[in-house]
């Protein structure tokens, strides 16, 4: 008995920094409350209370994250998590993305069968997992957080129970995602085996002090870790699932995945490369550079021939992951800032396309190019937002996309990777081909016959395209807001640049 007490007193329970962890608790609690609230039957509860609770949870958590910005005392739970500005900025990004998804899903008929409470609750759980991932300091935390956000996402992809495509997408994502997770876990295990530690900081120390830089065990471990992450971030050649899953998943879920999943994975990649394996930068830098090139080329080529908008956005998302990777490759403060900034901007550029797709799907026009014909005349507000988003995604001026690309190019040139800058630019040139096709479909070539036929079909399908914008005020509002954001931050990017700088400094000071 005495010995047991003695042992117990030597084991120090980790101190829990409750204040810093509030936003995480809010998310966890909100997910449960939302789930239980959905047990209340009735239209008001289902359509009013449940979404309201979900939104309130996300906003409350977001406020707590925002209050904590610039708080330098960041290590919590004995260093398992680090709630610094990088974690906070990315968490805000996940929350914003989830809010967009909720707006898109709010009046979606598909959620009826699946259950609203489950949908919102799972979405909040995903955000919690991502927020944990963005603050992880430890290989075990990394894997836990990664699974916490991946598994609910598999379910969400299959949320459209009546549509075969959605179930297929869920299964596909489950299998590929599990493969990615398994590869990652294997890689993490080997890294632990080689360095003897799961902490990022301890791995860093082990790598810089001992001569294990060329150790095969370690290199295989790091390589497998990257492969696992590449699956999650849809970096070529591990991207094949992306267009299928994007196409099959319900549009609100796709909208969320397109931004948040990518952001979560890149937050981890930034931390992992910037904190843990920085000492062996010479080993992984050329590999990542090659992956970036392949990703940019494959993504842009793949997007060119697509008929479905969601597939097109899937491939374009692959290409965008390639651009983001450039900021990681150069492994500098400038590169990290460029990546964070581009990720923030990416949120704004990605809303309008999915809002338009949702509106067209509800109008019965489908999510293909044909559904866009004549949109310029029928719903100018949506068409303008979409046009601005396409221009921003392709990186043309007075949009935030231009500043983002400029930042990445500058980081690449500054990091002696001028040729990667050229690849970014060539990729952008290629991307204009398909982004402008979308614009052309909305504004041009919609001669009288084509548009009347298209709208005729839609009327047959039980919708009147003329009333498009008045029927979905929330979709129009969010699309216009996001498009306005991409222009405003294209002219006045100061606030986002500051956020990106703080985020980058907050974790790079660990290694500097």
């Amino acid at each position: 008995m005495n010995t047991l007490i003695a042992v117990a007193s030597t084991v120090k329970a980790p101190s829990v920094e409750w204040n810093t962890l509030i936003p995480y608790f809010v998310l966890a609690g909100g997910a449960i409350v939302t789930l239980f609230a959905s047990l209340i039957a009735g239209r008001t509860a289902q359509r009013g209370l449940v979404p309201l609770l979900a939104v309130a949870t996300l906003i409350a958590s977001g406020v707590f994250f925002a209050i904590g910005l610039h708080d330098l005392d960041a290590n919590v739970l004995s260093g398992a998590l680090r709630v610094d500005d990088l974690a906070r900025v990315f968490s805000l990004l996940f929350i914003a993305s989830a809010l967009v998804s909720i707006v898109l899903a709010w009046r979606s008929p598909t959620l009826q069968d699946f259950g609203r409470g489950e949908f919102y609750s799972l979405l909040i759980t995903v955000v919690l997992g991502m927020a944990l991932l963005a603050s992880a300091q430890n290989l075990v935390t990394v894997f836990l957080a990664l699974e916490l956000f991946s598994i609910p996402l598999y379910v969400l992809c299959a949320a459209d129970l009546r549509r075969e495509g959605s179930l297929e997408s869920g299964i596909k994502y489950l299998i590929i995602g599990s493969l990615g997770s398994a590869t990652l876990l294997y890689g993490l295990a080997l890294t632990y085996g080689a360095t003897g530690s799961t902490d990022f900081a301890a791995i860093n120390v082990a790598l810089s002090s001992a001569k294990i830089g060329d150790d095969a065990l370690l290199l295989v471990g790091v390589a497998l870790t990257f492969v696992g992450l590449a699956f999650k971030a849809s970096i070529a050649p591990f991207h094949q699932w992306t267009p299928d899953v994007y196409e099959g998943a319900p549009t609100p879920v796709t909208a969320f995945m397109a931004v948040a999943t990518k952001a979560a994975t890149f937050a981890l990649i930034l931390r992992y490369t910037g904190q843990a394996i920085l000492p062996i930068v010479d080993h992984w830098q050329p590999v990542l550079a090659a992956l970036a090139v392949v990703t940019i080329v494959v993504g842009n080529l793949g997007a060119m021939g697509q008929k479905s908008l969601k597939r097109l956005l899937g491939y374009s998302g692959v290409a965008q992951a390639g651009y983001l990777l450039v900021g990681v490759v150069v492994s500098s403060a400038l590169g990290a800032r460029a990546t964070v900034f581009y990720m923030l901007v990416y949120l704004f550029m990605n809303v309008a396309p999915f809002a338009v797709i949702t509106a067209r799907e509800r109008a019965g026009a489908g999510e293909g190019f044909d559904g866009l014909r004549g949109l310029g005349r029928e719903a100018p507000a949506l068409a303008w937002s979409m046009t601005i988003s396409m221009i921003a995604l392709s990186g043309l001026p007075i949009t935030a996309g231009f500043i983002g690309k400029l930042f990445l190019i500058e980081a690449a040139v500054d990091g002696d990777y001028a040729w990667l800058a050229v690849v970014i630019v060539l990729g952008s040139a290629m991307s204009l081909v398909y982004y402008l096709r979308v614009v052309a479909a909305m504004w041009m070539g919609a001669d009288a016959t084509a548009s009347s036929v298209a709208s005729g079909d839609a009327v047959l399908a039980g919708a009147s395209p003329e009333a498009d914008s008045s029927k979905h005020p929330e979709l129009v509002a969010i699309a216009v807001l996001a498009a306005a954001g991409s222009v405003v931050f294209g002219v006045w990017p100061g606030p986002l640049l500051d956020l990106a700088r703080d985020a980058a400094i907050s974790f790079l000071q660990l290694v500097a």
Binding site: L396, F402, L406, E410, V413, L497
Partner: protein, 511 residues
């Protein structure tokens, strides 16, 4: 902060927004009147201009501190008259457009205004990234203007035209973006100076010789495509045929000049060594452009292409003037940019009027149009004579300066280029005769009914342009003395580079 130039830059957009609030039928008229407000903002700027190399209305604000990008605008002798040309061209083009109905007029005038903002911004920019930003911005409005309101021709439909235009300019623009970023970053790393993209700083801290050479190639391609200079002129025929005439006025008269302007503003001061090493190639291209453009202009049936190819020849002269690297040559190049801009405005107006009368823009279907239209014929003749650089016109002054510069430094090139002067007379007079005098293809009766004097609206468009041509012919000194100091300074930056250039660490070696 000095707001003058910023306001000038934003007036077109404000005007388009005000016009967009009007009822559909009045949008064009209101948009046109709004362009006159710009003239009001421009006049004090021109009157305030002091002869010398100092920047007027200079604004310099740090815009993106992280990236070293400044919001920096200013007017000097290089761009003063280009900006006047922009305002004049857009005003006339908007008035010309308001005489026609365009589908979705709100968007049309908004895009036209956006194009003006891009052009003005590029001409006024004193920061390399800002220049590239405005230069690339032009892609957006012209994509819509050509794609949505262009017409289908035998060379392909309007979507094909806009795609061709986009692909050509895009490749150049984006290449220039990388080279611009590289120029700034390498200038700061090679010289150990803080990162900045301002022209003045980049000129003072130049990059090493071999770096200059590869950067030069990127800038050169982008600028030559915009001008356009053969063999990079592939977008010109289909674009010229498809583009609506009011848009073509600004595209040909002003936007194409950005290419030549870029050589004077960016390439010569920032990459003087490369200018020196690439001089023979550029001179060759200039002379090819002069001869090729003239010969092609002579053999075209479509009046738009006559003017299009003659523009290639004229812009060839400009390029020649720039790359003989002589103060007189550079001055002549700037004068010629102004001259050509104005005559092209007038020529495309004339083509519009001819087309409305003959029902076609082909020379073979015109003829005899002067019969009942003496005023039209007279105005056309004045424009034609100015285009072929009749002594007494400012075009004559410009070409003389260019050739003078050429004879001083590159005698043989000057002799070859002189042929172009003769050829210009041939193709311009051919166009004038075929359209105005030859017996009409449809017979006398038809010619009689087709030939019609200019109405007041048409006169109101064409007369201002002709008046400017005459005013410049009478008093070219006003322009010449304002252009001279900057032209001399730009050339001096090549002949006597400001500083010993930095050591070459060529991008891939080390920070």
């Amino acid at each position: 902060m000095n707001w003058g130039l910023t306001i000038l830059l934003l007036v077109p957009i404000v005007g388009a927004l005000i016009a967009a609030l009007m009822p559909l039928r009045q949008i064009g008229g209101v948009a046109a009147i709004m362009t006159l407000i710009q003239v009001g903002f421009l006049i004090p700027i021109v009157l305030d201009f002091k002869i010398g190399t100092e920047l007027t209305g200079f604004v310099d604000e740090l815009w993106l501190p992280e990236l070293g990008v400044h919001y920096s605008l200013g007017i000097d002798g290089l761009n003063l008259f280009m900006i006047c040309l922009v305002v004049l061209a857009w005003s006339i083009a908007t008035f010309a457009a308001s005489r026609h109905e365009f589908a979705q007029p709100r968007m049309f005038y908004a895009m036209l205004a956006l194009a003006e903002v891009g052009t003005l911004g590029a001409f006024m920019a004193q920061d390399l990234i800002l220049f590239v930003l405005f230069f690339d911005l032009l892609l957006v409005p012209f994509y819509f203007l050509i794609g949505m309101w262009g017409k289908d021709t035998e060379l392909g439909n309007s979507r094909r035209a806009t795609a061709t235009f986009m692909i050509y300019t895009l490749v150049g623009s984006l290449l220039m973006l990388v080279c611009a970023v590289a120029l700034g970053v390498l200038s700061s790393t090679q010289n150990g100076t803080p990162l900045t993209f301002e022209f003045a700083d980049l000129a003072a801290n130049q990059v090493g010789n071999s770096t200059q050479n590869w950067l030069f190639v990127g800038f050169m391609l982008a600028l030559l495509i915009k001008m356009p200079i053969p063999p990079l002129h592939g977008w010109m025929p289909i674009t010229y045929k498809a583009t609506p005439l009011p848009v073509l006025i600004v595209l040909s008269a002003v936007v194409a000049k950005l290419g030549a302007f870029g050589f004077l503003r960016i390439v010569m001061p920032l990459m003087p060594h490369a200018v020196d090493s690439f001089q023979p190639l550029l001179l060759l291209l200039a002379v090819i452009a002069i001869i090729y453009g003239s010969v092609m202009a002579f053999s075209q049936d479509d009046t738009r292409l006559v003017v299009g190819y003659s523009s290639i020849a004229q812009i060839g002269f400009v390029l020649l003037g720039i790359f003989v690297i002589d103060a007189k040559g550079a001055e002549g190049a700037i004068l010629q940019m102004i001259n050509h801009g104005i005559v092209v405005i007038a020529l495309f107006l004339i083509i519009a009027f001819l087309g409305e009368r003959a029902g076609s823009e082909k020379l073979s279907e015109m003829g005899g149009l002067a019969k009942n239209a003496p005023i039209f014929a007279t105005l056309f003749l004045i424009v034609a004579l100015a285009t072929l650089a009749m002594p007494g016109s400012m075009n004559f002054v410009g070409e003389t300066y260019i050739l003078f510069g050429a004879f001083q430094t590159k005698f043989v090139w000057g002799v070859v280029a002189s042929i172009g002067v003769v050829l210009a007379a041939v193709y311009m007079l051919r166009m004038f005769q075929r359209s105005m005098h030859n017996r009409g293809s449809a017979g006398d009766e038809a010619t009689n009914s087709r030939s019609r004097e200019l109405d007041s609206g048409e006169l109101g468009l064409l007369v201002p342009a002709v008046l400017v041509i005459l005013a410049l012919a009478i008093y070219p000194q006003y322009v010449v003395e304002r252009v001279e100091p900057n032209a001399a300074q730009t050339v001096k930056s090549v002949t006597q580079p400001a500083q010993p250039v930095a050591l070459d660490t060529d991008g891939g070696v080390e920070r």
